[in-house]
Point group: C2
Chain length 415, copies 2
């Protein structure tokens, strides 16, 4: 039995390792320019990316990267500033203004390196003239409540920003812009990660207005006026830019799949962007695992069912929970001790919700062990208290903050 646990841990480790900046930044360094090198960036993993970059970079450089409070990695040559996420604050706005200024007035001999990761959209928030930060935030809130798909929300955001939707790269013209991205968005659309400050944007002011109308979103008059004026469209093409996705959920799942395969398990990747309420995703995954057990479908065991993406937790209890451990506890309850089925779930950033715990694992005797200890698994689930449940069982996965993020990693092993 320890074999399965060791395998699942090795798969998680491989998934996280694949997502670390060390790997992807070093492998995708730009050529030395004739002129200046300016490193900018925004996102939860961007300080860690900056550190790798400055260690590998032989020439001179200057730079400014904004990351989330607590995600600082000390750098020697690149300035790191902290700002608020997910709701922008003044520190983020100041950083965005400085970054926009830094990339202006460059020549074609200069190089801008953009280090972009999830969370960068909030950290690099800069409203267009005539619209206040508060008004922009109100529009954002209304968009989130509208049910509009992320692509449509981004279209509106990009048309209210001085930096998003490729505007930062346009400002840097004619300098070369080399963008490295750690993706945390479904579909890995590089124009979507941090709202793509250095990536060309196909959407238009007319579309932004249509989206506002379609969802009946109430916006301040300043926003209506700005979208109607339709001045300064987002760049549809960007010369001298190159964007590389150095880490993504799918790449991490593939790395874990390779580990499973080497151990004799058929890997089956169900999705790199599985969403939904965590406990319900656990129930569905239990159903799929049981199908493999009973009917050798979709594949014959031994197999490893792998998935990524971000589930959600509707908090009703007062416990210490996270989406990975809540998913996992629900999975265990639905499997009800089914023989030879094991599971692990963890957040690749090392922090699953409420605690500095990445996730946990389950074995066929998880529920029995809990009940032998006098614990009621249903009660822990009802109280959103899965971290305490797995702490008592001694089956937590603790990595510490990994300073990268390609969302969640889940595996169900069917032996």
């Amino acid at each position: 039995m320890p074999d399965q646990i060791a395998l699942m841990k090795a798969m998680f480790t491989a998934a996280v390792k694949q997502a670390l900046p060390e790997h992807g930044v070093a492998a995708n360094m730009p050529s030395q320019p004739k002129g200046r090198t300016i490193v900018i960036g925004a996102g939860k993993a961007s300080a860690a990316m900056a550190r790798v970059f400055e260690q590998k970079w032989k020439g001179p450089l200057e730079g400014l990267v904004v990351t989330r409070y607590g995600h600082v990695v000390p750098c020697e040559r690149i300035e790191i500033v902290e700002a608020a996420h997910p709701v922008p604050d003044a520190a983020g706005t100041r950083a965005a203004e400085r970054i926009l200024q830094m990339v202006q007035g460059l020549s074609e001999d200069d190089l801008v390196v953009a280090l972009i990761s999830g969370g960068g959209s909030a950290l690099l928030s800069l409203a267009v003239d005539g619209v206040t930060a508060e008004e922009k935030r109100a529009v954002n809130k209304a968009l989130l409540a509208s049910g509009a798909p992320i692509a449509e929300m981004n279209c509106v955001r990009k048309h209210l920003s001085r930096i998003k939707g490729g505007r930062l790269a346009a400002a840097a013209f004619p300098a070369q812009v080399h963008t490295l991205v750690i993706s945390d968005v479904p579909g890995d659309d590089l124009a979507a990660v941090a709202s793509g400050p250095t990536v060309a944007d196909a959407s238009t002011f007319a579309e932004a207005r249509a989206i506002i109308a379609k969802y009946g979103i109430e916006v301040p008059p300043s926003v209506t006026a700005h979208l109607a004026a339709a001045k300064n469209e987002t760049p549809k093409t960007l010369a001298n830019t190159k964007s590389i996705c150095i880490a993504s959920p799918q790449q991490s799942l593939e790395a874990a799949a390779t580990v499973a395969k080497q151990a004799g398990y058929i890997p089956i990747i169900l999705g790199d962007a599985i969403e939904g309420e965590a406990r319900e995703v656990g129930i569905v995954m239990a159903g799929i695992a049981m199908q493999a057990r009973r009917f050798n479908q979709p594949v014959k065991p031994p197999c490893a069912m792998i998935s990524g993406g971000e589930t959600t937790v509707t908090v009703k209890g007062k416990g210490a929970g996270g989406r990975n451990v809540e998913y996992l506890l629900s999975l265990a309850l639905k499997l009800a001790g089914a023989e030879n089925i094991f599971g692990l779930a963890g957040d690749t950033d090392g922090i699953d919700g409420a605690r500095d715990v990445a996730g946990a694992f389950i074995t066929p005797d998880t529920l029995q062990k809990a009940r032998d200890m006098g614990l009621d698994p249903w009660q822990f689930l009802a109280n959103n208290d899965a971290h305490n449940f797995f702490e008592k069982l001694g089956t937590q996965i603790i990595t510490g903050p990994t300073l990268t993020n390609v969302n969640d990693f889940r595996v169900v092993l069917v032996g």
Copy 2:
């Protein structure tokens, strides 16, 4: 585009057809006995099974079958009575008493044919002496609230019943007992469908007591006393009995898979017992479908992702909904118009929740069509009003009651 719709409809039709009694009863008729033939049965599909049986049966027969109110199929030689489901009523208890009496005093030359289908547990409810029907119902309610797996709930039920857990077959001894089952339970355990009145039961009084203790279930003193006395254990082996599963969720999914394969789609069966909140299952299935589109995983399109089982709906709105249409509307919203992905979901019994509608289908332009008509899909979902949504779009699946039930059928076609 109509091709995909036609294919999905053909798959659903094949799934339902596979589950009809015509198919399985006729193929599994017992041999003519020397003595009497007594047909008994219980379940939502059991009257329809009885009709096929009496049409095919050459010899004399007598019999009594209990079905749910509204599920009567007129029979000429077998008496059909109606009773309440899911909460038992006096009509069910009377029918159970009569059925138990009918199978007693038989010889080994006699044949008892048991026609069992989902819902039979409530329809064939008969408490042991000393425990009232109300007390048994209270225990059942507490079991449902305990979170105990179905196998453990059945263990307790079988030890409080005069008919469940093989007791009916034991009463018929030494007659031959030929049981035909339409399964609606995850795992197709024939001892679980209608709590297995003619199937040997491995569970014990001691286990029933342990389950009561494990979940801290409060039971009336009469129940405690009966379980402690442990008189009349369920039969662990049953001579002269034969049980055949003539229809199951998996068999229906396989039938649909064959149709998909013939049309050039790779069928992939994800589970015959997928459960969870309907709208969340829709989100997960959208994630799996997108994985096929983007990464050719778990299989390369064109593929048909097939699943069965019963999802649940937590009703918060006041609309007309059902678990299949709610799943489907949520799937459409999560897919957000993704190209070349189609879906259909329907209840194989022809009635998806609130209406005489089996289900519905979606196409890539479902949301756009709805918005063009001025409908807000999110609002229909929030109001649990998916039947009205699909009625307005004209994409309902209407079969009328099929008088069989192997739970839900869902397919997502990825082209």
